[in-house]
Symmetry: C2
Subunit: 226 residues, 2 copies
């Protein structure tokens, strides 16, 4: 795969806190590969609609990489998306940053914002590929350990492909930054780390199979807070 | 506080999976009170912009309750918001639902979507109140254990008030639901639970105070996965 650095456009250039902007593609991919869900923003009837959804990533078949999204063919967000610029945001919240001053309270986070006009995937092969990338993004290896979608199920599902060309990444990490004159105030300052973790996989009541390796790996990779 | 049930409008009425819709206000408040961050969607230059941000809730001073948002007076999202309908989404992801069929894979989640035209808070008293609600939403009790914002800091900060009048709540829980004819397929099915947890609070390098009770409580309340 070849790729270009993130090319800031007017809408992806950070206007504030520019020190928090990452400009390389790997930073974008890291945020996307580490996330499980995104918030998809579309404009419907003149107002924004923001819905959480799963996504998949393919970095192997295009210069900048592709994000796959899916939804029911009847879903407002998915129906609206292919005709317009959408905004997809993936956010990791890594810690609550408690400063001595209310004003300098902050959040440690990594977020990616992607803009683009999604392409409605119509070819059967890419549609299946996109759906597999979504399932495998949530649980690597899962797409080969399930019954694949049949023709009727594929017909009920819309798949969108969004190029990862226009994007921005913003991160904050580290301790709180107070004003010089506040450093001796008698208030505790520090970070409460936040983690997204998995619990023990729970068999469906009607399933007595052992938890397979790919499910176990997924849970372990999320794991408990370090 | 008196409150009315959620009044579904065209844009908050679920078109699909109606069994996942909660229509009482308490379900909305539960999702909001349990969350820490939202995704704020606005329309800027004709396209959607979705950014993660903190929020605070006040259920005590109006019929339906208010969500407070804040940002730099220079922030695109906050500058755009008071002139238009925004969409604020709060999402909890509770589990990965792995079915025997790819098609029936799902996510256990609780999400709230709020629409409204935010009011720019201009009164000094409500502005401070709104900021305190945001800080106390992240860490209850924090607003009284910090240096309050001074006039200069308040002038740099915009606070928005969004009525919780028009909203929808959607949830999914429980095991995977496969087609009858797939129940004997030899694929593991179940749920990988997901949790947002806090780690041990980390003092800033320049702070040797003991972790105070309100910080400890916040971390404990998030706690480890049950």
């Amino acid at each position: 795969m070849t790729s270009t650095p993130l090319q800031p456009t007017a809408r992806t250039s950070l206007r504030r806190s520019k020190e928090r902007a990452a400009t390389d593609r790997q930073a974008l991919y890291d945020v996307l590969l580490d996330g499980m869900f995104c918030h998809l923003g579309v404009v419907v009837d003149g107002h924004p609609l923001v819905l959480p959804t799963a996504y998949g990533i393919d970095l192997d078949h295009s210069a900048d990489g592709i994000m796959y999204l899916h939804g029911s063919v009847a879903a407002r967000s998915v129906v609206a998306a292919p005709e317009q610029t959408v905004c997809v945001t993936v956010t990791h919240t890594d810690g609550l940053v408690l400063a001595r001053s209310a004003f300098h309270h902050s959040v440690n986070y990594r977020s990616a914002v992607i803009f683009g006009v999604p392409r409605l995937v119509t070819g059967a092969e890419e549609k299946l590929h996109g759906l597999n990338r979504i399932v495998d993004h949530l649980v690597p290896g899962r797409s080969t350990a399930v019954r694949p979608p049949n023709r009727k199920e594929l017909a009920k599902t819309s798949v969108l492909a969004l190029s990862l060309t226009e994007a921005s990444v913003k991160t904050r990490s580290g301790p709180a930054n107070d004003e010089e004159e506040d450093l001796n105030l008698p208030y505790w300052t520090g970070v409460i780390p936040l983690h997204s973790v998995a619990g023990e996989p729970e068999n469906n009541p009607d399933c007595d199979l052992l938890v397979p390796a790919h499910v176990r790996s997924r849970a372990n990779r999320l794991g408990a807070p370090s």
